[in-house]
Amino acid sequence: MRLSDRLLGIIPFVATIAFVAGIVHIVSVLAMPAVAPQDAMARLSAVAPQGEGVVLLPPATPGREIMPYEDPSVALGFCRFDLARGLYRVRTNIDGEHFIALSFHTRSGRVFYATTDRSALRGKIDVAIVNAAQLEALEANDPEDQPAPELRLLAPAATGFVLVRALAERPNDLPSAEGRVTAVTCAPDRPPQS
């Protein structure tokens, strides 16, 4: 067999490898958020397997961090939501001076909304996380001519978490920053029983 014939014979073999490798690469990257065992939600759930409301995370110290690149100057807390159990309300009052930030994430950590005290209206943050049906039900009950009392966030997934960050400007301020985290109220809003 001539050399050029042998090279031609290899082409389908190499093309098959490239084709399969491309598909496997794309599928594995896209599947990673669904299969990764140690994603943000798994790490947070290990701290508090159960419970509604805000969970304060222990301060970041060497060997006790929950996530990588945590900021040791920030008090962290989280609330987890599951819209199958009703829309989810997140509320806190703002003192106008101290940094507090809420970010809304899907399981894998992707941000779908975020806010800080700077952009709060009327001295408070008041958010309802909803799915399409819950949004419709809320809007059906809205009084006419009035703006919605809260910010309504259409979640891209039924489950996820809200991360609360409060900055401690100095190490001594950590307890008061933790107090601002635990002052956030999160709770599912169950449909009225009738």
Partner: protein, 192 residues
């Protein structure tokens, strides 16, 4: 039969190559959308809802929760301004301007984002606590052994990462405002 075997071998090699490619891409970090400013790199889109699939995969593997774009921006430095890897074998001085923000924090971690234990329990500086000169400028010394003034301890001989987080950063809303932002210098001093 031979053709079938060749096809099966090609498919198996393809699966292996695809997985190796995925692994090596994810090991390299967030990849796309990097904004460089001096020795610092930020990935503003990682904290936005239009995050790319690679960065999403990286987040779900490491468990890192990014700072959302509306809240601020994180800059990471693995090298000094000459391009050499940051190492606990050398002393460094961080000085100069910080991009406009309400607060900033500077944290030292190992290459996996974990804090490094040290006897003075100092892992970070915030904009409120850093000691400043009369003209409001500051310098932070990064070294394994104690230094006067602002001292951020590193671990002797070990690689490390500096993370500069800007909270309520003025420029974080638009990535174009970040490129060319005046970031602090990381100057290497003595190695030994």
């Amino acid at each position: 039969m031979l053709a079938f075997l060749r096809g099966a071998v090609a498919a198996l090699i393809g699966v292996a190559v695809g997985l190796v490619l995925t692994f090596s891409m994810l090991e390299r970090g967030f990849g796309f959308g990097a904004v460089r400013a001096g020795p610092w790199t930020a990935w503003p889109r990682v904290g936005a809802s239009d995050i790319d699939p690679y960065a999403r995969a990286v987040l779900s593997r490491t468990g890192e929760i990014p700072l959302a774009a509306a809240q601020g921006i994180a800059f990471y430095a693995r090298n000094d301004e000459s391009g050499a890897a940051l190492s606990g074998s050398c002393d460094y001085v961080i000085s100069g301007a910080i991009p406009a923000s309400r607060f900033w924090t500077l944290t030292l971690t190992d290459s996996n984002g974990r804090l490094i234990a040290n006897s003075s329990h100092r892992y970070a500086f915030t904009s409120a606590e850093v000691l400043r000169r009369a003209d409001n400028s500051f310098a932070i010394a990064v070294a394994p052994a104690a230094r006067p003034g602002n001292w951020l301890p590193s671990e002797a001989g070990a690689r490390f990462v500096l993370v500069l987080k800007l909270y309520d950063a003025v420029a974080s809303a638009s990535p174009s405002g970040l490129a060319g932002a005046t970031t602090p210098r990381i100057t290497r001093g003595r190695c030994g």
